[in-house]
Symmetry: D2
Subunit: 137 residues, 4 copies
């Protein structure tokens, strides 16, 4: 990858994150971005737990969805999620440190497919996510 | 449906919601529960917006996922999400009042499939969600 | 619905089916078409069974996918599948007569979402399918 | 991987394929099997084309689904598909030689998640599939 592509990926992520109050308020941190790639982290807070004391599935999805968003916007332009699917493999608990790694599997001019793996601090995979992106504007 | 089934659905929802800090902190409200059915509402707050000033897809998913959880737990027992998929059809904006209606499409002893429709205050469908449940314990 | 819309749905289905060698060779029959709706049937033949004597999941998917295709093309134009998901609920056996009913859940100028229910001759639901369509050309 | 695991993968695939009339009648060939992995090929025949002269999506799905089945049964036991999702990225045409590579992403005692990439003879990815398996019996 070129230096320019890497610089664009970092600039896009910084600009997006600065305005992304949802990812900020959920405490997500960007660990790494590259063209077609993003790695994010999130601590499972007490206010993220559901009625069975596990992290709400929607917030695990949110972490994966943000990683997906940063990776599919890493090439510039404005790209949004058209659809996504998630398999929940194991629960996350309060205090867990989750990491989501998004990888680009395919991309055309208008669409892309990204796979995101969510793991906990022990390296256990807790969810697998796949998103389809759509270029707008 | 019997009065007993309806009472169980309401009791299950109340007990779950009382411990569901995630749904509470996202401002979700239960509008209605019946056996295999739940209707929830959520206001899109400013801290739910992403970098393009739309409601973060993960929080739309969270609303649908909670409606799914209340509907699949309406029969008693402990039921969790095994997998889910969502199609994002239109953006939601700050101040929008979203409603999610979950309907049971199929259920066996161990698994179920639920469909959730998320709409805004104008009645426009903004997302379609399908979840697969799994009985635990 | 208008007579013109119904006539278009029937004309589109007839034209598509005449050239659809795959649906023909799998023995699919169109039972009904309406705007945004299609009902198809298929007999599970011996050459459709997999290694555990059930109908191959891909052929159950094929029936649902054809119903999806006929329903999303019922408005005219050329519409193709962008993505689809299926939940397999119960096996189908040799000699079973399967029916797939496709219903339009949402449609914009360029995309649509359709849900398909596949049942056997006893009315048992054996699969639930959801497809996302995309207008081409 | 051990020789025993490899021998089991090959034995399972041979036994399954011998009884899998659907995969046989669609002309699928097993190119390689390993524990948690399978590679299959299929020629797109004229009787596999749909009304727009592309390979019927259900038959692309069928190839991916068979690769998924061979990979998730490579450890022994009887494993079936619970659910699957596919993104269609590019059409396949008559005469195309498709290859499906299934890789195990996660596995527990009762469930597994497998990703399948379908490509044509030019190496273009035409579909991405993800399947969830379930151990029976």
């Amino acid at each position: 990858m070129s230096d320019a592509a890497q610089a664009l990926a970092e600039r896009s992520a910084a600009a997006m994150y600065a305005n992304d109050r949802a990812s900020q308020s959920l405490g997500m941190r960007i660990l790494e971005t590259r063209p077609g790639y993003a790695k994010l982290a999130m601590l499972v807070r007490e206010d993220m737990l559901n009625g069975v004391a596990s992290c709400h599935g929607g917030l695990i999805f949110s972490l994966a969805d943000s990683a997906f968003a940063f990776s599919c916007n890493s090439h510039g332009g404005t790209v949004v999620a058209a659809a996504a699917a998630i398999d929940f493999l194991a629960p996350a608990r309060g205090g867990d440190e989750l990491t989501a790694v998004a990888v680009e599997r395919w991309r055309s001019k208008r669409n892309g497919v990204y796979e995101v793996t969510v793991a906990n601090q022990n390296g256990d995979t807790i969810a697998l996510f796949r998103g389809r992106s759509h270029v707008v504007g």
